[in-house]
Symmetry: C2
Subunit: 424 residues, 2 copies
């Protein structure tokens, strides 16, 4: 019988009553004949409670010890779920990351999974047990407990599914799938029944919070069919019935997927634009400006270089809004004199809007339709950045909702994806 991995987030595991509810859901799959491995998060609020104890002791606690503390949250929720399953009459057993073991590298608080030995898990499954594996954590080669960073339980679930060659990894969450854009901004936003791995990767990196980006990378690397779906509705069993439930991240280049030129629209208000003005246009200028920024651990997103007057150039880039002040200080202290810049201007009232779709690869004119749409609404584009399957623009943040709504309509995202290509 088929093997599936279920992942439940902190909200689903948030109380004893909710854990009972998760146990009833898992029991249904088990009784229908599925082998089930469950990867839960800690009970909501628990990880914050634990870490705040450490923060009371010192502003920068040792990360090895932080991992020892944080990892207990999932150990408790996993054992509670095993007990709840047993109360449902299902044989069940929980394992902490080190017991499986889930081997990671040594980067405490943001470790990466290197390998998973599933021998114990397979033996338990073969004996008819449901196996519960703590999300978010592992153990390094020296036997130290590690954690994967916020949202790491998604990655744990996908990695376990990859290791077990599961039929699907089902990520249960409080939304019922991945949408063409945020339904709070565009009420006509449509749930996608499928999304390609690359699109999901762009969506995640552009701030769509449904899945942790590293779990998407993992799903892509090991081709794990991963579905995002709601933990609030009754599960559809067998798995084939789930075909119209949630959003499946898949790896098949089927015709239907080709047809979707633009799959979704992502946006973010966490941006700030910095321009270093009137810099002499010499080779190496980008490195002179961005080197110190990178050394200060500030992440740069878009980069733009414009020739303004003869032999001079304006150099612009965007950073996360919270890093703006720090970035400006670095520029004033370490960069301005070196590159002989005239002045620095900043703009923190900007937003980023992106269209994403694998279909862009094979269709010209997608970016043009985007620019035309924004122009018809009187929205000025401040910066543009493109990748193979994504076009992003920086605009005034007061126009963000308008831009998202008009692009959603222009690319017919409220309709079935097949009808889009005719417009181009």
């Amino acid at each position: 019988m088929a093997l599936v991995v279920h992942k439940y987030g902190g909200t689903s595991m948030g109380s004893v009553e909710r854990i009972k509810n998760v146990a009833r859901r898992v029991a249904k799959w088990h009784r229908a004949g599925y082998q089930v491995v469950v990867v839960p998060s800690a009970m909501s609020g628990e990880t914050n409670r634990l870490l705040s104890l450490a923060k009371e002791l010192t502003v920068s606690p040792d990360r090895r010890e932080l991992d020892m503390i944080a990892a207990t949250g999932e150990q408790v929720s996993s054992a509670l779920l095993a007990i709840a399953l047993q109360s449902e009459g299902i044989a069940a057993r929980s394992y902490a990351g080190w017991q499986v073991p889930v081997i990671t590298d040594n980067s405490h608080t943001k470790a990466r999974i290197l390998s998973i030995n599933c021998d114990k898990v397979i033996s338990d499954l073969d004996q008819g047990r449901v196996v519960v594996i703590t999300g978010f954590q592992g153990v390094n080669s020296d036997g130290n407990v590690t954690t994967l960073g916020r949202g790491g339980s998604d990655t744990s679930a996908v990695a376990v599914a990859a290791s077990l060659k599961a039929k699907e990894c089902l990520i249960y969450t409080d939304v019922d799938g991945v949408y063409t854009t945020d339904p709070r901004v565009v009420p006509e936003a449509r749930r996608m029944s499928k999304v390609s791995f690359e699109e999901m990767l762009e969506m995640a990196s552009l701030g769509s919070k449904v899945l942790q980006i590293r779990s998407v990378e993992f799903a892509g690397k090991y081709c794990v069919p991963t579905r995002v779906l709601s933990s609030l509705t009754d599960p559809l069993i067998p798995l084939d019935q789930e075909i119209n439930s949630g959003t499946l991240i898949n790896f098949e280049d089927d015709d239907k997927m080709e047809a979707a030129v633009v799959s979704g629209i992502a946006f973010s208000r966490d941006e700030a634009k910095i321009t270093v003005m009137a810099v002499p246009d010499k080779p190496g200028i980008a490195h002179s400006i961005l080197g110190p920024i990178s050394a200060a651990n500030i992440e740069v997103d878009m980069i733009l270089q414009n020739q303004s007057v003869a032999e001079c150039t304006d150099f612009s880039f965007t950073v996360n809004r919270v890093d703006l002040q720090r970035a400006v200080e670095v520029l004033k202290n370490e960069v301005m004199d070196v590159v002989q810049a005239r002045e620095i201007s900043t703009d923190e009232k900007v937003a980023k809007v992106s269209i994403v779709g694998v279909g862009m690869r094979s269709h010209v004119g997608v970016a043009s339709l985007m620019f035309k749409t924004l122009s018809q609404e009187g929205i000025n584009i401040k910066m543009i950045s493109t990748s193979e399957i994504k076009t992003s623009v920086i605009i005034d943040d007061k126009y963000m909702e308008l831009a998202v709504r008009s692009l959603h309509k222009a690319f017919d995202l409220d309709k079935a994806p097949e009808s889009v290509t005719s417009k181009l």
Copy 2:
């Protein structure tokens, strides 16, 4: 330099502020040149909080999963202590039981320690680190987390001290040592600076709650010098200065210890007496009565068989008061008809008072002085039980305090121990 093991209970670890205080105490020892291993309990209340979550799910949760849950309490407190030590400028590292590893048998929730591999700990100590090891827990040979039962952190500390051949195991608690009897009953009660291992074992088994009895057994088996002392007063360093602090459980048969005929008086109000009356006096009667009691997992303490009338006997025994009703039901349902007993009488208004001392071995007349003292106070003795170093009596519980006070005086326990033998 000398190696010492410190154990701190849940109250000492009860808040971030208190953990800082423990770190400051440990730091003093470390700065004085000692190698220190610390074994903390969970923050007070935490183990109960965790187990109550499991109890909300089912009345009898799986014990393997309970251990997974309960063990997290010490993992958190140990890592917090390591962080607090680092904030004091001391290199420190925490290990969970499975990381050391502390190997136990398979008895979940009441496991026994089989062995401890201290290689990692020794290597850390040699590098100048303080090592924090979770109390209360270990791992069995299959890699499952186990816990040692309530008070198990004492046993962890003594076992770690044995494994490391520590100079002393210092058990910090909220009392400043082991007393000749409870100072709340006898204000003249005196702290003992030393107590023999066998006496401590009897005191622990008789209800003196200072140390878990299994930790005392462990200390005896491996001859670990173990000291009970207060976590509220400033530590005296070097260790030699602690000679007048707390109570040392020791293993040397020195002259001073010989002199103490009676070292302490223990008492307990948790007793109930059951008498099965007028049982035909035949071989095997004790087994017929106590077999079913034992099968019902009820612990029997004292046992007394009195011939009452010809060919008949009264058979009395004591149980913990909370087990009385259950014991009576077992007797009525499974025993009375079989042994042809006339009736069952119970007495739950009884208390047990015991005098304990290694000197009893070599001195006659100790029990006589006890009986004489009680008789002079008009206290009737209902049952008597003796061992090599202990004499216990069951009396009316309303006389318990009076008995303890008059015995404490009769054996001169408020004075220095040397003066006692002259009385006998």
